[in-house]
C-alpha cells in the first residue's frame, strides 16, 4: 500500500509545485491509467435517459485544489462510463460548500468527511452513505510537531496535555480528522483550546497544515494520517523538522454520500451502477489501480449511515453540530 501511495503522490506533489509539471504528470497518468477513455460520454447510455442534465459530483477540498481537480476529473470520467450519464465534477473551495451544494441538490453524490457527511445527512433526510475506502473504518489522525517545539512522541491520549502552551493548527473547521477527532482526544486528555498558545489556526486543508508545521509557522498540527503518510512518501515537502507525536485511536471517517433522489432524478439504477463501479475496482487492473491510488486506498467497501453515529455523538459533545 505504501508503495502505491508513493507513486500517486509523487505525481501529486509535483503537480502542486508548478502547473506546467502538473500538466506533464497528469498527461502521464491519463496515458497510463485512462488510456483512450477521455472522450465525452454524455448521453451515451440511452437506457437510463433522463432530462435532469449531467450527474453532479464533488468532494470536500481536504487537499490542494489542483490535486483534487485531477483526482476527481478521473473519477468523473469513470462514473460517466459506469452510469452512461454525463458526469460533472464541481470543484469547491471550502468544506461547508459541499454540504450546501448537496443540500440544495447541486450535487447528487459527494465524497464527504465524517463530520461533513453527518451534517449533510442531517440536512437532507434520507441521504445514504454507501461506500468508503478500506482504510476509512479505522481512520486515524496524527499530531505532528516541529522539532523546535521541544515536544517528543508519546503513546497515551493523556500525553496530549503536554501540548499546553504550544501553538496548534487544525485543518478545516469542519474536518473530521483535522479538527473534530483531534479536538475530541485533546478534550479527553483534559486539554482545552484555551490552554494553547494563541488562538488555534484553521489552515483549511491537510496539506496546508503539514506545510504550516514543516515551516514552523505553527508548532503542532492535527492532520489526517493518510495524507501525512502520502506526503512523507512523496518526499516533496521538507519534513526533516517534523516529528510525529501521537496517533489517535481509530474512528470512521470519509465516505461517499448520495442524495435520496439520485435514481429518481438521474434514472433508475444510477446509484447501483456507481456502487458496482466502486466495489468492483480491482488493484490488479491498471485503470482501477490508478483511481485507488489517487484515493490512497486498496479498495472501496460498503458502509452505512449508522457507522457515523460515533462522529455525530462526538460532534454533539463538542457542540459542533447545528
Amino acid at each position: 500500500m505504501t508503495r502505491t501511495i508513493a507513486t500517486s503522490t509523487s505525481i501529486t506533489r509535483l503537480a502542486t509545485s508548478r502547473r506546467g509539471l502538473f500538466v506533464g504528470a497528469s498527461g502521464l497518468v491519463l496515458l497510463a491509467a485512462c488510456g483512450n477513455d477521455d472522450s465525452s460520454p454524455s448521453g451515451a447510455g440511452g437506457d437510463t435517459a433522463s432530462n435532469a442534465g449531467p450527474l453532479p459530483i464533488s468532494a470536500i477540498p481536504d487537499q490542494d485544489p489542483e490535486v483534487l481537480n485531477r483526482l476527481y476529473g478521473d473519477v468523473a470520467a469513470r462514473f460517466a462510463e459506469a452510469t452512461g450519464l454525463e458526469v460533472t465534477y464541481t470543484p469547491v473551495t471550502e468544506y461547508p460548500a459541499v454540504v450546501r451544494g448537496f443540500e440544495v441538490g447541486d450535487l447528487a453524490i459527494a465524497w464527504m468527511g465524517g463530520l461533513t457527511g453527518v451534517q449533510a445527512a442531517q440536512r437532507v433526510a434520507g441521504a445514504t452513505a454507501f461506500a468508503q475506502r478500506n482504510i476509512d473504518a479505522e481512520f486515524t489522525s496524527l499530531f505532528i510537531a516541529t522539532r523546535k517545539s521541544g515536544l517528543s512522541p508519546f503513546d497515551d491520549v493523556d500525553g496530549l496535555s503536554r501540548l499546553a502552551g504550544h501553538s496548534l493548527t487544525f485543518g478545516s473547521e469542519t474536518s473530521t480528522s483535522g479538527r473534530l477527532m483531534p479536538q475530541y482526544f485533546m478534550d479527553q486528555a483534559g486539554l482545552s483550546i484555551d490552554d494553547l498558545k494563541g488562538q488555534p489556526g484553521f489552515s483549511g486543508s491537510h496539506d496546508a497544515t503539514i506545510e504550516a508545521v514543516a515551516s514552523g509557522s505553527f508548532e503542532v498540527g492535527a492532520v489526517n494520517e493518510q495524507v501525512y503518510t502520502a506526503t512523507v512518501d512523496a518526499g516533496e515537502v521538507d519534513l526533516s523538522d517534523v516529528v510525529v507525536l501521537f496517533r489517535t485511536p481509530p474512528y470512521y471517517d470519509y465516505h461517499w454520500l448520495a442524495r435520496p433522489d439520485v435514481d429518481e432524478v438521474y434514472g433508475a439504477g444510477t446509484l447501483d451502477k456507481v456502487k458496482d463501479l466502486l466495489f468492483g475496482l480491482d488493484p490488479s487492473v491498471p485503470d482501477d489501480a490508478a483511481i485507488l491510488d489517487l484515493f490512497g486506498a486498496e479498495s472501496f467497501v460498503p458502509t452505512e449511515n449508522s457507522n457515523y453515529d460515533q462522529i455525530r455523538d462526538v460532534a454533539e459533545e463538542l457542540d459542533l453540530l447545528a
Binding site: T16, R18, R19, G20, V23, P61, D64, P65, E66, T90, P91, V92, T93, E94, Y95, P96, A97, V99, R100, G101, E103, V104, G105, D106, Q119, Q122, R123, T146, K148, S167, E173, T174, K197, G198, Q199, P200, G201, F202, G204, S205, D207, A208, E211, A212, S215, G216, S217, F218, E219, D319, L320, L321, A322
Partner: protein, 584 residues
C-alpha cells in the same frame, strides 16, 4: 430608523441644512476657550477609542506574533517577482477576468435599476405635492429596508444566497445588486431632491401625468450625475466581485482562493496583478468620465456631496467620452449577460422557493450562540476594535502617501526647473500606484498574509483591513485635497508670509477637515467590511458568522445578522453626527 435617514439626508445636502443657513457665520462667535475645548474633545474622541481598541487587540499575556510564520512572508513576497506567466495560466486569468467584469457589470446594472426605482420613491420631488399617506408609509418601510439591506456586506449576502440558489452565477449578481442598489437608491433620491424642480412642476401643473413628467423633467438633468455614479459603482463592484470569489461563484476571486489554498504564491501574484490592472482601467475610465462631465469627484460621491453638485451637473453634457460610455453600456451588458451565463430562471424555480422558505424557517426565531450573549457582545466589541485600529492604520498610510498623490495644479506647481517638476510628477505617479495596489489587493489576501505572522484575532484583521482601507482613504483624501482652494495660501504668500507658514495656516486646516470627514465616513464602511476578514479567520462578528454558517446554525446566524445591523446603524449614526458637528 427614519430619523437616521433624515440625519443622513441633512448631512448629505450641504445646501439644505436649516441650521446651517440660519446660523450666523460661526467665526464671529467662537472664543479661544471654545476652540480649546473643541480640540480637547476632538483629541479625546480619537484617543479614547484608539487606546481601548489597542488594549482589546493586545490582550495581556496573550501571544500575538507568531514568530514561526514570519520567514514565510519573506518567501511569499519574494514570489511576487516571479509570477506565473505561462500561456495556459494566463488563459485562465483572462477567462476569470472576463467573468469578474461580467458579474460586476450585471450587478451594477441591477443596483441601478433598484436605485432608480427606490430613488424615485424616496425623493420628495418626484411626488408633486406631499405624497398621500400610503406612499409615506411605504417610504418609511422602504427606507428601513434599504438601510437593513446595505448593512449586510456583499460577501454575507452571497453566503446566504448560496443556500437558496446553489452555485448559480446569479448569486454573484444579486449579492452585488442588493446592497449596492440600496446605497444607490439613497444617493439617487438625494440627487433628485437637489435638482431644480421648476421644469417638473411646470409639466405637472400643465396636467402631465406623473410618469412622463418625471421621465422628461427629472431624469435628463440627473442623467450625467447618474451615469457618473453608475461608473463609480462599477469601480466598487469590480473589487467586490473579486471578494465574492471566497464563496465560489467564479471569476478572479475564486481563482485567487484556489491558488491561495494551494499556497501557489506565484499564481496568487499573477491574479493580484490582474485585479490591479482591471481596477486601474476601470478607475481610469470612470475617473475620466467624472472629470469630463465635471459632476462629482469620487471623493464627493463617497462623502455624499453629490446632491450638492447636482445643481452644476451636466456642465459639459456633450463630452464624447461620456456619450460613448453611455452608448457602450447597453451592448456591454448584453455581452456580460451571455459571457457570465446568468439566467433568471433560478429566481422562479420551485427549488428556490422551497429552499428560500426553508432558509427563512431556519433563520427564525433567532437564537444566541453557544457562548450566550457574552459571545455576541465580545464579537461586537472585537468588530469595533478592529474597525478603529484599521482606520488608524489607514489614516497613517494616508498621511504618509496622500500628500504625494495630490495632482499638481498647472501654474501653481512648485517653483523650480524641469528636474524638480518631473521629480514631483514621478512621486505623484508612485504614490498613486501605491494607493491603487493597496486598495486593489483584496483584503482577504492581506488577511491571509497577516495571519501568517499573527495569531488569529483582532490584530491581523485590523492590519489587513487597514492596509486596504488605506488605499481607498488615501485616494479619496488626495482627490479632495486637490479641490482645496489655493487662493488663501497665495494671498498669504503675497503679503509676505513665508511659504511653509502660509501652508500651515491656510491649507492644513481645510485639508485636515477633509481627512477627518472621510475617515469618519470610511469608518462606517470599515465596520461592515470586518465581515470580510472575519470570514477568512480573523475575529469579530464576521468570524462568528462564518463559524456558525459552517455549522449550519441559522438561528444563530440570524442573531448575528441583527447584531451586525445594529452595529452598522449605530456606527453610521455616530459618524454622521460627528461629521455634522465638524462641519457646523
Amino acid at each position: 430608523m427614519t430619523d437616521l435617514v433624515e440625519v443622513a439626508r441633512h448631512d448629505r445636502d450641504p445646501t439644505a441644512g436649516p441650521d446651517r443657513a440660519g446660523r450666523p457665520p460661526s467665526s464671529c462667535r467662537v472664543t479661544g476657550r471654545q476652540v480649546a475645548l473643541r480640540r480637547g474633545a476632538g483629541a479625546l474622541i480619537v484617543l479614547l477609542p484608539l487606546t481601548w481598541a489597542l488594549q482589546r487587540a493586545l490582550p495581556q499575556g496573550g501571544d500575538i506574533v507568531n514568530r514561526g510564520g514570519v520567514p514565510l512572508i519573506g518567501d511569499l513576497l519574494g514570489k511576487a517577482w516571479s509570477p506565473r506567466l505561462d500561456g495556459e495560466f494566463l488563459e485562465v486569468v483572462v477567462d476569470a477576468a472576463v467573468t469578474t467584469l461580467a458579474f460586476a457589470a450585471l450587478g451594477t446594472a441591477g443596483a441601478l435599476v433598484i436605485g432608480l426605482l427606490g430613488g424615485l420613491v424616496l425623493s420628495d420631488v418626484a411626488w408633486a405635492r406631499r405624497p398621500p399617506w400610503p406612499v409615506r408609509t411605504v417610504r418609511t418601510g422602504l427606507r428601513g429596508a434599504l438601510v437593513a439591506i446595505r448593512s449586510i456586506h456583499e460577501l454575507v449576502w452571497a453566503l446566504l444566497l448560496v443556500s437558496v440558489l446553489g452555485l448559480d452565477p446569479l448569486v454573484a449578481v444579486l449579492a452585488i445588486a442588493l446592497p449596492f442598489g440600496a446605497q444607490t437608491a439613497q444617493v439617487f433620491g438625494d440627487t433628485f431632491d437637489a435638482l431644480p424642480t421648476r421644469a417638473l412642476r411646470a409639466l405637472r401643473d400643465a396636467g402631465a401625468p406623473a410618469a412622463p413628467a418625471v421621465a422628461f423633467a427629472l431624469l435628463p438633468p440627473a442623467g450625467p450625475l447618474m451615469l457618473s455614479y453608475a461608473f463609480y459603482r462599477f469601480e466598487c463592484a469590480v473589487r467586490s466581485t473579486v471578494l465574492l470569489g471566497a464563496v465560489g461563484v467564479g471569476g478572479l476571486g475564486q481563482e485567487l482562493v484556489v491558488s491561495l489554498s494551494s499556497r501557489n504564491w506565484d499564481e496568487v501574484w499573477t491574479l493580484v496583478a490582474a485585479v490591479i490592472v482591471l481596477s486601474a482601467v476601470v478607475d481610469a475610465w470612470s475617473g475620466r468620465l467624472r472629470t469630463d462631465m465635471a459632476v462629482a469627484s469620487c471623493s464627493e460621491w463617497s462623502a455624499g456631496d453629490a446632491g450638492g453638485a447636482a445643481g452644476t451637473g451636466g456642465r459639459r453634457p456633450g463630452s464624447r467620452w461620456a456619450r460613448w460610455s453611455a452608448i457602450a453600456a447597453a451592448p456591454g451588458l448584453v455581452v456580460a449577460w451571455f459571457a457570465s451565463g446568468v439566467s433568471l430562471s433560478g429566481l422562479t424555480s420551485e427549488r428556490t422557493r422551497m429552499l428560500a422558505g426553508r432558509l427563512l424557517d431556519d433563520l427564525v426565531p433567532p437564537a444566541l450562540p453557544r457562548g450566550g450573549a457574552g459571545e455576541v457582545t465580545a464579537a461586537v466589541l472585537d468588530t469595533l476594535a478592529m474597525a478603529v485600529l484599521a482606520m488608524a492604520i489607514a489614516v497613517l498610510i494616508t498621511l504618509v502617501v496622500s500628500p504625494w498623490a495630490v495632482a499638481v495644479r498647472r501654474g501653481t506647481g512648485p517653483p523650480g526647473g524641469l528636474a524638480m517638476r518631473s521629480l514631483r510628477w514621478i512621486s505623484w505617479l508612485v504614490a498613486r500606484i501605491v494607493l491603487l495596489v493597496l486598495r486593489s489587493v483584496p483584503p482577504t489576501v492581506w488577511a491571509v498574509i497577516a495571519l501568517l505572522a499573527l495569531f488569529p484575532g483582532v490584530l491581523p484583521g485590523a492590519l489587513a483591513l487597514g492596509v486596504y482601507t488605506g488605499g481607498v482613504l488615501g485616494r479619496l483624501v488626495a482627490e479632495s485635497w486637490e479641490s482645496v482652494s489655493p487662493a488663501p495660501r497665495e494671498a498669504l504668500v503675497r503679503t509676505g508670509v513665508p511659504g511653509a507658514v502660509a501652508t500651515v495656516a491656510a491649507v492644513v486646516p481645510a485639508s485636515a477637515q477633509q481627512l477627518v470627514t472621510f475617515t469618519l465616513y470610511r469608518f462606517e464602511i470599515c465596520v461592515r467590511e470586518t465581515a470580510v476578514v472575519g470570514i477568512v479567520g480573523a475575529a469579530g462578528l464576521g468570524r462568528l458568522l462564518a463559524e456558525n454558517l459552517n455549522f449550519f446554525r441559522f438561528p444563530v446566524v440570524m442573531t448575528l445578522l441583527i447584531a451586525s445591523f445594529a452595529v452598522s446603524v449605530a456606527s453610521e449614526v455616530a459618524s454622521r453626527r460627528l461629521r455634522r458637528a465638524i462641519r457646523a
